[in-house]
Every structure is written in structure tokens, then in C-alpha cells.
């Protein structure tokens, strides 16, 4: 009987702990969201009332659902007032971020960093550099969001695997939606209009992930992406040509199918290698796109008024009105032959065959989800430095703040003092803006960052 009793106790304990794990917490309008997150347990749901929140938020516990409560059109607004760097940064696995209006941040609107099994749903993000930016994530979904005004990509999936980007609306960004150095991802049912370039699938040099493949772009509306490129001239996005529906820059195994692609002035789709963009600087990266499959799409009125660099490129050829423009030496690419699909540079391309269709693909996510490794302090330090601090600090130069080299010189003997500054900065340097306080990151993470900066970075 003892045995049975013990068993019963375990069941009760499990029930108790599962009920404490699934608590629902509430943030009263305008109060500190971070304070509630700090009290929350893994698995909790945090409901945020409508109102204005001039805050940056950091979530590194697993299983947190952060949900904005709506009251008609009214939803909680995170406002960085062009002073704070990031809206929401999350590195906890299985995080859900939904229902927020995010605006006025200097860096990222909503970013996940190293979070697996994430969900970013139904947010409205204005401005910032990157709007919604999952990086180093496995198995996640970005769905039902609206993103506008970003100087780089509105929705920017970087170095991630098995990601779905579904039913979002992006307009007025330099790039509407981008997959960068990402593997196995599906982009579907999105409304992408009035960006400088609608959709970009890129493989950039110099990053830890050296390949990109298995990308499906299906059933999106990619319309009139002719916005002037307003990226600052020093940024990578400044090189993105205006008037492009879909840009494919070096990934392999790309399927473009059943999209409505119309009124993009320069060309419907540009498939280019990195050499053409002057980006073939990473010897480990194969700069060519192989196995790009441009299947049946609904094309109309593309390429009618080529702009900027595409105009330059096409001038000697005298061509306009191109659906597909190719400057890429890759292999095994194909284009569905159809009336009214004009292309240039497709001499080596073949005709696609019906079995290449991805019409039945439902998700790029893994059944059962991705593993959820617990990050070490070292990993956390590097991840958060990359997500947050590198938005304003560079190693060997002033960026927004002073160089890391000069910071190391100041604090090499005093990590505690550095942490104290980062939590509550005081204005020191003439001609520099003020650094926003980073106390929301919490002591443990700040300690990891400080340790990384002083003992690892640049050594």
C-alpha cells in the first residue's frame, strides 16, 4: 500500500505543478510588462491590457505566452519613442508573442534569438530597422502580422530552419519579407505590396550559416513593389534594387509557385548570383542559385518601367517587360513555359515539370517540434550581445555608441562597474546620444554579456 500511496502523491504533485505552470498573469494598462515576466514561471501566459508601454521587453524563460488583449481596435502599444532600441527580444523556446502594436524602436520591433518553436502572431509593427526578426530559430511561425516602415526587411527570418510565414501583410518597407541564410521555410498567403522589393530569398556572406535551401514561396500576392529604397546608404539593404517582385540571391532549391505577381516596375522576379551583387566574398558559400523552380504564377505588367540598377543593367539589352530576369550561373533551374512570361538570362534554364509542384505542402515545420536546448551563460551572452548591443556598438569603430575596444579599455578590470553602467547609463560623451537603460535584460543575462564583452569578444 505504501507503493500506491507514493504513486498517488506523485500524481497530485504533478497536477499541482502543472497548474502552477499554467498560470495566467495580467499586466495592468501602462504598467511594467517586464516585472510580470520576471515573476512568471515557464509555461505561463501573460495577458497585457490595452494601453501604451514605453518599454523594452526580454523573455528568456521557455513556454511564455505574451498576449496583447484587444478592446476593439485598441491593443497594447509598445512605443520606443525613437529612443529605445528593441521592442521585444525573446530567447525562450516555445514563446508566443501576439496582439501587440509595436512602434518607434531604433533597432528591432520583435526579435527572437535562438528561440525554437516560436510563434509570432497578429502583431502590428511600424518602423525600426527590422520589423519582425526571428534569428537562429528552429521550427517557428510568423502569422497574421502587419509590418510597415522598416528600413531593412519587414519580416526577416535569419539563419533559421523550418519556418512558416503565413498570411502576413507587409508594405512600405525596403524589403517586404526576407528569408536569409535559412533552410526549409514556407512563405504563403502573404500580401506584399509597395515595398522597394517584395520578397527576398538571400544567402549572405560572412555569417555562421553557409547555405540556404528548401524555400517555397507559394500563393502570395506580390504587387507593385516600387517604393523608393529608403535604406540608409551604408546599409546592405541599400543595394536592393527597387521595383522587384521576388529576389532570389544565391539559395538553392527554391520553388516559386501560384503567386500573383504584378505591377513590379523593374521585373517580376530577379534570380541572381552573389557575384552580380558584388557579394561573393565568402569562399565557403556557393554564390550560385541551383534548382530554382519558377512554376506557374499569375504574372501581369511586370518590368514595364525598370528603375535604378535594373534599368542600368537592361539598358544595353534594350529589353523591358521582363517577368523573370536571371544573372546567375547556377544549374538545374527551370521556368514554366507560358505565354506572356518574358525572361532574360535563362538560356541554360529548362522547362519545369508538373511533379515539381509544392501545391500540397502545408508546412515547413517539423512534426513534434524542435528540441529545446538550455543555453549556457556563454551562449546567452553572445546571443544577447548580438541581438541587442551590436545594434549600437561595433568592435573597432564608433557606431551609435563608443567602440567595444574603448569599452574594454575602460572596464577590463571592473566588470561590476560596467554592468552598473549598462543597467542605468549616465550621459557621458558629448556629441553622443544617451544609451537607453538595459536593466530589462536582468542581472544574469547582463552578467553573461559583460563577461562575453570583456573576456571573449575580439580576443
Amino acid at each position: 500500500m505504501n507503493f500506491n500511496l507514493a504513486f498517488g502523491g506523485a500524481v497530485i504533485a504533478a497536477l499541482l505543478s502543472s497548474s502552477t505552470m499554467a498560470a495566467e498573469l495580467r499586466v495592468a494598462s501602462g504598467t511594467s510588462i517586464q516585472a510580470v515576466i520576471d515573476q512568471a514561471q515557464a509555461g505561463d501566459t501573460i495577458l497585457v491590457e490595452p494601453g501604451e508601454y514605453k518599454q523594452s521587453i526580454y523573455i528568456d524563460k521557455p513556454g511564455i505566452t505574451l498576449m496583447g488583449l484587444r478592446d476593439g481596435d485598441n491593443r497594447p502599444m509598445l512605443n520606443g519613442e525613437k529612443k529605445l532600441n528593441d521592442g521585444i527580444i525573446a530567447s525562450g523556446h516555445s514563446v508566443v508573442i501576439s496582439g501587440f502594436h509595436v512602434k518607434g524602436y531604433k533597432g528591432n520591433g520583435i526579435m527572437t534569438q535562438g528561440a525554437n518553436n516560436f510563434k509570432i502572431l497578429d502583431n502590428f509593427v511600424e518602423g525600426a530597422f527590422y520589423g519582425i526578426f526571428p534569428q537562429f530559430g528552429k521550427n517557428g511561425v510568423v502569422q497574421g502580422n502587419t509590418v510597415t516602415g522598416c528600413e531593412d526587411a519587414g519580416i526577416y527570418v535569419g539563419m533559421s530552419d523550418n519556418i512558416d510565414v503565413l498570411g502576413n501583410t507587409t508594405f512600405g518597407n525596403v524589403i517586404g519579407i526576407e528569408f536569409e541564410n535559412t533552410r526549409n521555410a514556407l512563405m504563403t498567403q502573404n500580401d506584399v505590396y509597395d515595398n522597394s522589393a517584395g520578397i527576398a530569398l538571400t544567402l549572405l556572406p560572412g555569417l555562421p550559416v553557409k547555405d540556404s535551401y528548401g524555400l517555397v514561396v507559394r500563393g502570395n500576392k506580390v504587387i507593385a513593389n516600387n517604393h523608393e529604397n529608403f535604406a540608409p546608404s551604408s546599409s546592405i539593404a541599400a543595394g536592393v534594387p527597387t521595383g522587384i517582385g521576388i529576389l532570389v540571391l544565391a539559395p538553392d532549391e527554391v520553388t516559386i509557385e501560384d503567386n500573383e505577381i504584378s505591377d513590379n516596375f523593374s521585373t517580376g522576379a530577379l534570380v541572381s548570383d552573389l557575384i552580380t551583387f558584388g557579394l561573393a566574398t565568402d569562399p565557403k558559400i556557393d554564390p550560385y542559385s541551383d534548382k530554382v523552380r519558377v512554376l506557374a504564377n499569375n504574372w501581369s505588367r511586370n518590368g514595364e518601367k525598370p528603375a535604378g540598377v535594373i534599368a542600368e543593367m537592361l539598358a544595353p539589352t534594350g529589353k523591358t517587360g521582363l517577368e523573370v530576369l536571371v544573372a546567375n550561373k547556377g544549374r538545374d533551374n527551370c521556368l514554366a513555359q507560358a505565354d506572356g512570361v518574358d525572361s532574360l538570362g535563362t538560356k541554360r534554364w529548362e522547362a519545369c515539370t508538373p511533379e515539381m509542384s509544392k501545391a500540397t505542402m502545408v508546412t515547413a515545420m517539423i512534426a513534434g517540434g524542435a528540441e529545446e536546448p538550455v543555453y549556457t551563460a556563454e551562449q546567452k551572452g553572445r546571443l544577447t550581445y548580438l541581438a541587442v548591443c551590436s545594434g549600437c556598438h561595433a568592435y573597432d569603430s564608433v557606431l551609435h555608441g563608443p567602440s567595444i575596444q574603448s569599452i574594454k579599455a575602460l572596464y577590463s578590470e571592473d566588470a561590476t562597474a560596467m554592468m552598473a553602467f549598462v543597467k542605468k547609463p549616465v550621459h557621458k560623451r558629448e556629441g553622443f546620444p544617451e544609451m537607453p537603460p538595459q536593466d530589462y535584460l536582468g542581472d544574469e543575462t547582463l552578467k553573461a554579456i559583460t563577461n562575453y564583452v570583456l573576456n571573449e569578444l575580439g580576443n
Binding site: 535562438g114 528600413e151 560572412g206 543595394g239 551583387f277 565568402d282 551590436s390
Partner: protein, 360 residues
């Protein structure tokens, strides 16, 4: 010319759509748009101009000596910058005859050579600068310095070229160097239409030069033209097969040239000629470092090792790494070129802590 400048042509890529674009003012309040404020840029450029000023040297011999002392110190952006400045000043004082025949008659062939040599050193300096830009995003302090240095180098070359130009019909070397200037000076800090113009002008000149005198400057003409033809899309005159033939010729004419190895190995891989690429990489691995600028050696070995990884041969990459590390150890002043992050891009892999360009 006894010594041809070992131009780093690997970066003279004919980027049709490269990153340079006309600046459009952004006002989203992002950090990057803050940093592109014209007044702020002006301030940083002014500071950079002051900071990088070289100590004046008045005496001709002393200038020439200072030039020779550091004109190939590619690991020292500041030192080499001053050296090429002194060399340019010295060269500008030499009278250059207006034709090659006249030069022989008046015994001023040496003056022509000095002018061309110093021009070559300035072109190499473009490459040193180009390699100083970070892969993704620049901080404003560094980008301002590089901008100022770039414009100064451009100006020095323009001054030297005015003197060299009359010789071009007679001296193929001068023609090649002018073409190299078009390419090297437009890699950065140049609007796209000017870049395209430069590529077109250089291509035309190089076509003439390689017919005129195929072995001029040990095949530099073929090396540059080969790279341009490989980079251009077919419908704009690109021709991968002819590019490879030209690069093979360049390699034969100058077997110690690290840039020929880079360009040719890259082209072989691009054409899926992996066997040829691997054979070439193995040949490069055996290069005697004594005949190569040590910074070029370690840079090229990093690149070639990376190609080895791409070709599926990690053991070969490791051999490049070993030789490179030995050289870095022997000459601690050399730059290892480890990228660090800005704006969420670059730096080591945050999960493993590993440098993404590491060869093993």
C-alpha cells in the same frame, strides 16, 4: 618594369548591381538612419582627415626612402597610406617624357618606371582599403576614415595618371594600369552607374592590351579581364569559358600570384570543374611564401582554404589553415581579419563561439 605590382585583383570584381547606391535620406529613427545624418558624417570625416595626416617630408630622397620602407606593408593601413603618399609626392617631382621614344633618347625611362610603380602601389592601397571594410555594416568612425583615404588615393592616382596618359599608346603597361585603376578605384565609394562605366572602359582597354603585349606585367591584363568576363552576366558580354582561358594564361605567366589562384579556383568551382579546382588548390598550397607579400599570403590562404571546404575537402582546408597560422605566428603584425558583429550580423557563431570563417 622589373617588378609588377602584385595587384589584388580578387576584389576588382565587376559588380553589376553592387552595394553602392545613391543615398536616400532615411528618417525612421533607426540607429543606422541616425548615423547617416549629413552633418554627423561631415564631422567624422573632418576628424578622420586630421587624424590620418602624414608627417611632412621635404627632401626627395627621404620621401623615396619612406615610400620604399612601407609601400608594401599591407597589414598597416596607416603606414602604407603615408608611404604611398610620399611616393606620389616624389614621383610628381620627376619629369616624365611625353612619349616612350623621347624617354629613351633623354634617358628618362627610370622616371616612367617610378611613376608607374608608384601608381601601382596606390592601386594596391585601394585593395588594402577595400579589405578594411567590414563584411556587413560599418561603424561611422571607421567608414569615415576609409572614405577619406579612398578619396585621397583616388586623387593621387588621378594626378599620376595625367602624367602617364600620353605614354599609353606606346607603353602597354601603362594601359593596363589605367584599366586597373578604373576597376580598383570603383570597388567602394562609387555610385553604380560610375562603376558600370568603369567596367566598360576597363574591358575595352584590357582587350587592346592583351593583344598588344600578352606578357605585359606578367599577365595582369588577362587576370583582370578574366575576372570581369567571369563576373558579368552572359547577356552583358560575360563569358565564363573565355574567362577561364584568360585566367589560366594569367596563372601561367605569374605562378606565384595569389590572386590568379583565387580567381581561377573560384571560376573552376563556378563551372563545376571541381577536379581542376582541387588540383589548383593543391598547387597553391605549395607556394613558397618567400615570393609573396605575407599579408596577401595569409589572406589568400584563408580564401583558398574556404574554397577547399566548399569543394568538400576539409583536410585540404586544414592544411591551408596550418600554413596560414604558421605565417601569422612568424609575423604577428599581419592582420588575421576576424569579423565582429554590427546590427545583428557578423561575428562568431553565438551558439558555438566559432569564427564563421575558420578553416577547421
Amino acid at each position: 618594369m622589373k617588378h609588377r605590382p602584385g595587384l589584388t585583383a580578387a576584389l576588382l570584381s565587376a559588380s553589376v548591381l553592387a552595394m553602392a547606391t545613391a543615398a536616400v535620406a532615411a528618417d525612421s529613427g533607426s540607429v543606422l538612419s541616425d548615423m547617416s545624418d549629413p552633418a554627423l558624417l561631415e564631422k567624422y570625416r573632418k576628424e578622420a582627415t586630421e587624424r590620418i595626416k602624414c608627417k611632412p617630408i621635404d627632401d626627395w630622397d627621404a620621401r623615396m626612402e619612406a615610400y620604399r620602407a612601407a609601400a608594401t606593408s599591407k597589414w598597416d593601413r596607416a603606414g602604407m597610406g603615408c608611404a604611398v603618399e610620399y611616393g606620389t609626392q616624389a614621383a610628381m617631382e620627376l619629369s616624365v617624357p611625353s612619349s616612350a621614344i623621347w624617354a629613351f633618347v633623354t634617358f628618362r625611362v627610370d622616371n616612367i618606371e617610378t611613376n608607374l610603380e608608384v601608381l601601382g602601389a596606390n592601386l594596391e592601397y585601394f585593395d588594402v582599403l577595400a579589405k578594411s571594410y567590414s563584411e556587413h555594416y560599418q561603424g561611422i568612425e571607421l567608414s569615415s576614415e576609409l572614405h577619406v583615404r579612398w578619396e585621397q588615393t583616388r586623387q593621387r592616382c588621378d594626378e599620376l595618371l595625367v602624367r602617364v596618359e600620353p605614354l599609353i599608346p606606346d607603353v602597354t603597361e601603362a594601359r593596363i594600369l589605367r584599366a586597373a585603376y578604373y576597376l580598383a578605384s570603383t570597388v567602394k565609394e562609387t555610385p553604380l552607374d560610375k562603376q558600370n562605366e568603369a567596367v566598360a572602359k576597363a574591358t575595352a582597354e584590357l582587350e587592346i592590351a592583351i593583344k598588344e603585349k600578352p606578357d605585359a606585367l606578367n599577365g595582369l591584363g588577362q587576370l583582370l579581364l578574366g575576372q570581369v568576363l567571369f563576373a558579368l552576366p552572359e547577356f552583358l558580354g560575360g563569358d565564363a569559358l573565355r574567362a577561364i582561358a584568360l585566367l589560366e594564361e594569367a596563372h601561367k605567366l605569374n605562378p606565384a600570384d595569389m590572386n590568379a589562384y583565387r580567381a581561377l579556383a573560384e571560376a573552376y568551382l563556378g563551372e563545376r570543374e571541381n577536379d581542376k579546382a582541387v588540383a589548383l588548390l593543391k598547387e597553391a598550397l605549395a607556394t613558397d611564401p618567400a615570393g609573396v607579400n605575407p599579408q596577401d599570403y595569409v589572406d589568400a590562404f584563408k580564401f583558398l582554404g574556404g574554397l577547399g571546404i566548399r569543394a568538400g575537402l576539409p583536410e585540404l582546408a586544414a592544411q591551408f589553415a596550418d600554413k596560414r597560422e604558421a605565417m601569422l605566428k612568424e609575423k604577428p603584425d599581419l592582420l588575421a581579419r576576424k569579423e565582429t558583429a554590427a546590427f545583428g550580423h557578423g561575428g562568431e557563431d553565438p551558439l558555438t563561439g566559432k569564427d564563421p570563417s575558420a578553416l577547421k
